[in-house]
Symmetry: C2
Subunit: 115 residues, 2 copies
DNA sequence: CTTTCATTTCAATGATTCTTGAAGTATTAT
DNA sequence: ATAATACTTCAAGAATCATTGAAATGAAAG
């Protein structure tokens, strides 16, 4: 992932509705949620929800699959993880200082360079 | 950090020039860089660099301090770490699945909820 | 085959964001 | 004081993004 691609993924995260979608999809688990349920969950009209889902799908953050009438969306943890890796490693050089500020992660010592 | 604030910080990261600024500031270390040096580093005209630096400063990602004639910018690792925490913990509920996709971090087991 | 349901796409509009060059502000040197 | 340096702010225009409601598509049911 290069800077331009990462910028696109960050752009996809740069919206409260879309972060709400992600939160809902994490809660929903591996089965995901239908577009309609997501729309209700974030309190947006169908076309608005669809617009935001398309932005997330374009960025690769969500994947969709038709399930009879409805489209089921689920989160791409791989993609989200790749973005975090870009920021931590490629952009910030695995900075120990940044690592230290990331309390959500019970990290051991910084990994060796080039692993 | 709530969804709206996080969206603002993601917006600040949603630009290749600004990611370049961050990269340059990580490399520069704790002393940071002057606005002029940053402009050269990312290959942008002064006013354009200033515009992007203002976006980063508004989002709290960089801090600045006058040093004689020039303004010295440095990265706020705290702020960047807080964003990563928001995504990992508040938004994604500390998801083991996301953790597993974040190879940059040599994590042990997921931290207990509410630590 | 027509209707219904679920969702997307379209079109129009308004709001933000980005870029550029010119003008303005702060700080130091002569 | 004047000039030079280092930035920022402003103004105008182009580009992108978001919201709304209406129309179109795809899948299933009657």
């Amino acid at each position: 992932m290069d800077e331009k691609e990462a910028a696109g993924v960050f752009q996809a995260l740069a919206n409260a509705d879309r972060l709400g979608v992600i939160r809902a999809l994490v809660v929903a688990g591996p089965d995901g949620l239908s577009a309609g349920d997501i729309a209700i969950e974030v309190g947006a009209a169908p076309s608005r929800a669809s617009f935001h889902l398309a932005a997330l799908a374009d960025a690769g953050i969500v994947e969709r699959e038709r399930q009879s009438r409805s489209l089921q969306y689920r989160l791409s943890f791989e993609r989200l993880g790749a973005l975090l890796n870009f920021l931590m490693e490629d952009c910030c050089g695995g900075s120990a200082q940044l690592r230290a500020c990331t309390t959500g992660c019970s990290c051991g010592p910084a990994p060796e360079k080039g692993r």
